[in-house]
């Protein structure tokens, strides 16, 4: 498309096809937009992480000595909002999904490139609103914005933050819409549904949730803003409204949102395991359909966040039982990934370390989900650190492990450079150890009864809090390492070949980094995904 001759002798690709800040900010290339997302998402990750570090330092002692309660409450609120809405939800879909889905299905771009760019701008605008609220003094409602505290009692910037998340929601909606249409309509000739990589299936399921769920949180936040601004009474018991209705609406989105975070990570893990076992994932169609099943069941279980909120006993039972049904597709995935390694040819590369770490941590996160879905136990542990530990095992142990695994797996494809292998393996191990030390003690704390969102706590909880804070310092250090050596590799890393891992996906058949049009000629797909050569084939050949 751009005819200027490149100054260096590199072959043309999407990075050197054009120069200047405008060529990035006005790009419609899905790969460049993915890079734009990568930059902003990383910034938000470290901002949210900074808040987490401050929280953990504060909690190293039972007294409130680092910050006062007001500041502490704002810290965990902003940590939650930034991590959930501005890091976890866009992380894998908007970066890796954006970059890879067209490559994996043999398309030149997403179906709606302009909308894709618009999504990024909307995301940035939502982020700016939220950061504005943060600069002005932050918000102290918890990322859940429970009414009537958020609507009538909090003295913080609820409306600005709510608007930020509201705006950001449209970015997720448009990305999901773009993915669905792309997967339906843009597949290369021969790329049938059952030849799609599992990464694409996972993103299809994710997009379904984004498209169906996000509008509900949008309208819920709109009502919240109206209630706070105009006191229309919809969530205010003093005016006949029902504060618990807010919780229903909120969790109708926010529970499925957990699957927006974890499903793409599952897709990443399926790709990595297959590649470094050099064989097709065990039970392809079961992994594919379990993604869809998780997306569907995910919409039916929101009430398990309301077991003690005065919801009826029978509603609680129905939601509890449905929650167990979500566990089954998750278990199917774990068993299938593990079986893929059976009689495989396993290479312990960095992405594989992350993928294995993912399986371990997701297994623990999923199994502790069985605890909190059990009504009798949930009454004791809900709103305690047990829940905090549980969802961090899913979101940090699961989603971030998947994200980092994916970044390491496709880094050569995205940047055309290889990173330092020793450093990357070391940091994968540091992150795994630091993570467990941070969050495992929180299970014990929670069962002992330490409530979440506590600024000061009784001294008998200190031992486990100190362990957790120590783990957090290791984890924080671990997250800085990839940032450093990946940046370093951009300039000094060795050039990556088109297919450094010997993988079979379509994205590996084009150059690293890919050309702007992705493929020289539109690929024609003639076989299933993951056709690695195996022993039998050798014998036959």
């Amino acid at each position: 498309m751009i005819t200027a001759t490149p100054t260096q002798h590199e072959p043309k690709n999407y990075i050197n096809s054009d120069y200047g800040i405008k060529s990035w900010l006005l790009t419609q290339d899905h790969k460049r937009i993915a890079i734009l997302y990568l930059i902003v998402v990383t910034a938000f990750f470290f901002l949210g992480g900074l808040f987490a570090v401050l929280i953990r330092i504060e909690l190293a002692t039972p007294a409130g000595d680092l910050v006062d309660s007001n500041v502490y409450n704002k810290l965990f609120t902003m940590h939650g909002i930034i991590m959930v809405f501005f890091f976890l939800i866009p992380s894998i879909p908007a970066i890796l999904g954006n970059f890879l889905i067209p490559l994996m299905i043999g398309a030149k771009d997403l179906a709606f490139p302009k909308i894709n760019l618009l999504s990024w701008y909307i995301y940035v605008a939502g982020g700016v609103f939220t950061l504005y609220a943060l600069m002005r003094g932050g918000v102290d409602t918890g990322w859940t914005f429970y009414t009537p505290f958020s609507t009538s009692y909090s003295n913080s910037y609820v409306i600005a933050t709510g608007l930020g998340i509201f705006i950001n929601g449209f970015s997720a909606i448009l990305t999901g819409l773009n993915f669905i249409v792309t997967i339906h309509r843009m597949r290369a000739p021969g790329m049938t549904w059952f030849r799609l990589p599992l990464f694409v299936w996972a993103h299809y399921a994710t997009s379904m949730i984004q498209v169906l769920g996000t509008p509900v949180i949008a309208v819920t936040l709109l009502l919240l803003i109206l209630e706070r601004g105009l006191h229309i009474g919809i969530f205010d018991p003093a005016l006949g409204g029902d504060p618990v209705l807010y919780q229903h609406l909120f969790w109708f989105y926010s529970h499925p949102a957990v699957y927006i975070m974890i499903l793409p990570a599952m897709g990443v893990v399926s790709e990595i395991i297959s590649c470094f076992c050099k064989k097709a994932p065990f039970g392809y169609s079961f992994i594919a359909f379990s993604s869809i099943a998780i997306a569907v069941f995910g919409f039916l279980v929101w009430g398990h966040h309301l077991f003690v909120s005065s919801q009826s006993v029978y509603a609680g039972m129905v939601f509890s039982m449905l929650s167990y049904l979500v566990a089954i597709p998750s278990a199917i995935k774990v068993f299938n990934w593990t079986s893929t390694m059976y009689k495989a040819s396993v290479e312990m590369s960095t992405p594989m370390l992350y993928a294995i770490g993912f399986i371990g941590l997701f297994t623990i996160g999923g199994l502790t989900g069985l605890f909190v879905a059990a009504l009798g136990i949930d009454v004791h542990v809900t709103d305690t650190y047990f829940v905090v530990a549980h969802f961090h095992y899913i979101m940090v142990g699961g989603a971030i492990m998947g994200f980092l695994g994916g970044i390491h797996f496709w880094w050569p494809k995205i940047t055309g450079r290889m990173y330092a292998d020793t450093w990357s393996k070391l940091s994968a191990i540091i992150i795994f150890v630091g993570f467990n030390l941070t969050f495992f003690p929180q299970f014990i704390l929670g069962y002992l009864g330490m409530p979440r969102r506590y600024h000061v706590y009784p001294p008998e909880f200190q031992v486990f809090n100190v362990l957790s804070s120590a783990g957090a310092s290791i984890l924080g250090f671990g997250y800085l390492l990839p940032f450093c050596y990946l940046l370093y590799s951009l300039k000094f890393g060795p050039k990556a070949p088109a297919n450094p891992w010997g993988a079979v996906g379509l994205e590996w058949q084009t150059s690293s980094p890919p050309i702007s049009e992705n493929f020289e000629v539109t690929p024609v797909v003639t076989q299933d995904a993951y056709q690695y050569s195996t022993r039998e084939e050798v014998k036959v050949g």
Binding site: L177, T182, M186, V211
Partner: protein
């Protein structure tokens, strides 16, 4: 050929069919998100109407049913003119297309005008939730808690307001479409924007078809 530039295939599509299919599917998915968006409000409405049926009935009785009915008719007519516009574009009658788009715009404007008049009435009657809210049931024998009536009006304004904002956005898009049509940009082969906008307009119409009975006609004791 003026239309050529517009019908030109965007670089990442293989052919026109694919491009059109993608746009149409995208529009349908967008409408699904719209359903979920309105769905949250409908859920709140159902919850509170179940909780306070009398207050909702009494509050609903203060609405101007004839005006609501007129507006319903106006919107249905505008859907018809929109459908005619799509048809005109498909058979390549550009003048007719412009006429029907203008008719749709005018009908949409009439709807919004009537709606504004109704809102004005509500302001005058102090039926807008807030500090000046004041409500007394018309049926003195069966008074209702004004708080609950306030909830009804909060939902009334939220739902019709959201609907009206969709109408306003739609009106802006029609103006753009009329300008495009005036420049002969649409052909029988390529008039996707008209078709997609038709879907949107019909959707907004259907939302009103639900809103009208739910908000205006709910009180069984209504005479």
């Amino acid at each position: 050929m003026a239309s050529h530039a517009v019908t030109d295939l965007r670089h990442h599509f293989e052919n026109h069919d694919q491009q059109k299919d993608a746009s149409t599917l995208g529009m349908w998915i967008f409408l699904v998100t719209e359903i979920m968006f309105f769905g949250g409000l409908f859920l709140a409405y159902i919850a509170y109407r179940t909780a306070y049926p009398d207050a909702f009935g009494a509050a609903s009785n203060t609405l101007n049913i004839p005006l609501g009915a007129v507006n319903t008719a106006v919107l249905i007519c505008s859907s018809l003119t929109m459908a005619m516009a799509v048809h005109s574009a498909a058979i390549g009658k550009n003048k007719l297309l412009i006429t029907f788009l203008i008719a749709t715009l005018v009908l949409g404007g009439v709807f919004l005008g009537v709606k504004a008049y109704e809102y004005h009435d509500k302001f005058v009657e102090h039926h807008v939730p807030g500090p000046n809210f004041d409500f007394k049931s018309e049926d003195a024998k069966h008074p209702v808690d004004p708080h609950n009536a306030s909830l009804y009006f909060a939902l009334y304004f939220a739902m019709t307001g959201l609907h009206a904002s969709h109408m306003i956005i739609g009106a802006v898009i029609i103006v753009v479409l009329i300008r495009m049509a005036a420049k002969n940009r649409f052909t029988p082969e390529w008039h996707t924007p008209i078709e997609l906008f038709g879907l949107y307009w019909h959707f907004v119409d259907i939302v009103w078809i639900f809103l009208f009975p739910l908000l205006y006609l709910i009180d069984p004791k209504n005479k």
